[in-house]
């Protein structure tokens, strides 16, 4: 387990996702990386029913799986007021969620996943994922993990160098937004600056980054319909289902 950084890869105009991924894969192999299997990260969101009457946002339970940790189920509950509690459990947790279908219903149309090839380069693991929601291509997420280091602040420059080396685009010198210094409340109720890039990295952090990105993709669908990923794999039908999601059903998903 090591520090992982997740980066969305901007799709240039007029290029298909499959083509870009193919190109990136070839570049990685030329760099000296070796191909080592496939990976999959998926996310399903359950929403509490019935929705609260007083207009308060409902609770959402996000259940994610990461093929890097095949025996675990990661879940994050968002109580609607911004508080998040995360949990790592055995796979059986999925079955327990099904026991609660009366209270928490799955929003099938927002099931989203990132799937693709996995490469190794020294102690780096690089994953080229194409994001799909309801079988429709949404974008490319690049995951890079440096297995032997547990603190982002130590190895960010290394990760940045590798990312720039094969992405071919500039990556800002600052830490990625997920690791940015943020204000947190201490147990004593005081506000305190917390530098997340100095924390010891945990597998949950990877999952949270995925959830952040997935939530962005879902929001795009809700707000812009099919405008984002023109020219993707799905051709003209891309994003169509997104248009049919009534905006009201998105209450409680992600943060405002």
């Amino acid at each position: 387990m090591g520090v992982t950084v997740l980066q969305p890869y901007p799709l240039p105009e007029g290029k298909s996702g499959a083509h870009i991924i193919d190109q990136l894969g070839k570049r990685l192999l030329a760099l000296g990386a070796t191909h080592s299997g496939q990976f999959l990260v998926d996310c399903e969101t359950f929403i509490s029913t019935p929705q609260p009457h007083n207009g308060a946002p409902g609770r959402a339970v996000h259940v994610l799986h990461n093929s890097e940790y095949p025996a675990s189920t990661f879940s994050i509950i968002d109580n609607g007021t911004g508080k998040q509690v995360s949990l790592v459990a055995d796979n059986i947790f999925d079955l327990l969620m099904l026991k609660m279908t009366n209270t928490f219903t799955s929003k099938k149309q927002t099931k989203i996943e990132s799937r693709g090839a996995r490469f190794e380069y020294g102690d780096f693991v690089i994953k080229l994922g194409s994001v799909t929601m309801m079988e429709h291509f949404k974008g490319i997420l690049i995951e890079i993990e440096y297995k032997s280091c547990v603190i982002l602040a130590y190895c960010w420059e290394m990760i940045r160098e590798v990312l720039q080396g094969f992405l071919g685009i500039g990556v800002a010198k600052e830490f990625p937004s997920y690791f940015a210094t943020q204000t947190i409340m201490t147990a004593m109720g005081q506000q305190q600056l917390h530098a997340k890039h100095n924390d010891i990295y945990e597998p949950m952090d990877t999952v949270k980054q995925y959830l952040e990105q997935f939530t962005n993709y879902r929001k795009h669908v809700a707000l812009h319909g099919g405008m984002v990923s023109g020219g993707g794999q799905g051709g003209p039908t891309v994003g169509q289902p997104g248009v049919h999601i009534p905006p009201s059903s998105m209450v409680g998903m992600g943060r405002p």
Binding site: G32, G122, F124, S148, Y154, M158
Partner: protein
């Protein structure tokens, strides 16, 4: 104890003489012989009988000379043999089975270890080849534990680095060094001579029962290789303390393993690895490929 021993010997002699005497009697004469052989037989018997008598006196004398021991002799666990015990009360059987298993295991392992160690000809601490010659005693590996404790506490000064010292087998120390949140290293000492170094990642287990397994990360396997060559570089039989101190200083320079780019090429990553080599004098970071050009 001496008296008891001589008494026991005397009793033994008496018994053997009595036995010989009876054997002599049982053999008898050949029957054909005349007066002469019969006389000789009786004479022999009387002689042996006399010897028995004198030995009997000797035994009696010795026994009288014995003192009653002030306390009962401590016979250790053998004393239990005389007691009638139920197996349950003593709980000896499970212990016996356990110790049997252990002895068996120890025997197997030491046999394998002996064979393996004998194949290694690059030893510095023991030199079996020179057994014929009288070799000079090597002062660096038979130092007393106090000295090593003192030495290790002296080097225990670098911030961000913690040392945990323990002695799994006898007096030789093993120090587990944790350098910030970057890496761990186990230094196995023999006296003050460094015998082995294992380097692992911060999130990998490094415990006293697992000192020899390699790191699962390429970078730390590489650092371990370098650590071994540095260990040989700093080795100095005449100034062993200084050798350990400079080695630990060198090892501590890995605190910025991921943070510093290579001094030669200015890059962080080469062949998927950070600059793993630290110059032995200047402690500057280099990639393995860059250090010799």
């Amino acid at each position: 104890m001496d008296k008891l021993n001589s008494t026991l010997t005397a009793v033994k002699n008496l018994r053997s003489n009595v036995k010989q005497c009876f054997e002599h009697l049982a053999d008898g004469t050949d029957g054909e012989g005349g007066e002469e052989s019969r006389n000789k037989f009786v004479h022999d018997f009387q002689e042996r009988f006399g010897a028995i008598n004198s030995q009997l006196r000797e035994v009696e004398q010795l026994i009288n000379g014995l003192q009653v021991p002030p306390t009962a002799y401590s016979l250790g666990n053998t004393a239990y043999l005389a007691q009638e015990t139920s197996q349950d009360r003593q709980a000896l059987y499970p212990q016996l089975v356990n110790s049997y298993k252990w002895i068996d295991k120890v025997h197997d392992h030491s046999f394998l270890a002996f064979n393996n160690l004998n194949q290694n000809t690059l030893r510095r601490s023991y030199n079996y080849c020179s057994q014929k010659r009288q070799r000079l005693p090597f002062s660096s590996f038979n130092n007393d534990p106090d000295h090593i404790d003192k030495l290790l506490s002296e080097i225990n000064t670098a911030p961000h680095t913690s040392y945990r010292i323990f002695r799994p087998f006898g007096t030789n120390a093993v120090a587990i060094v944790t350098i910030s949140n970057v890496m761990k290293a186990a230094i196995v000492f023999k006296g003050v001579l460094i015998e082995w170094v294992t380097v692992k990642g911060f999130d990998e287990p490094l415990e006293h029962d697992d000192l020899w397994a390699e790191s699962r990360y390429e970078v730390f396997r590489k650092v371990q290789e370098h650590a071994h060559s540095a260990m040989l570089h700093f080795f100095s039989p005449t100034l062993p303390d200084l050798a350990v101190k400079s080695y630990v200083t060198w090892l501590n320079s890995h605190i910025k393993l991921f943070l510093e780019p290579c001094k030669r090429c200015g890059k962080f990553v080469a062949n998927g690895l950070p600059p793993t080599w630290r110059d032995l004098r200047t402690l500057e970071p280099f990639h393995e490929e860059c250090r010799n050009c």
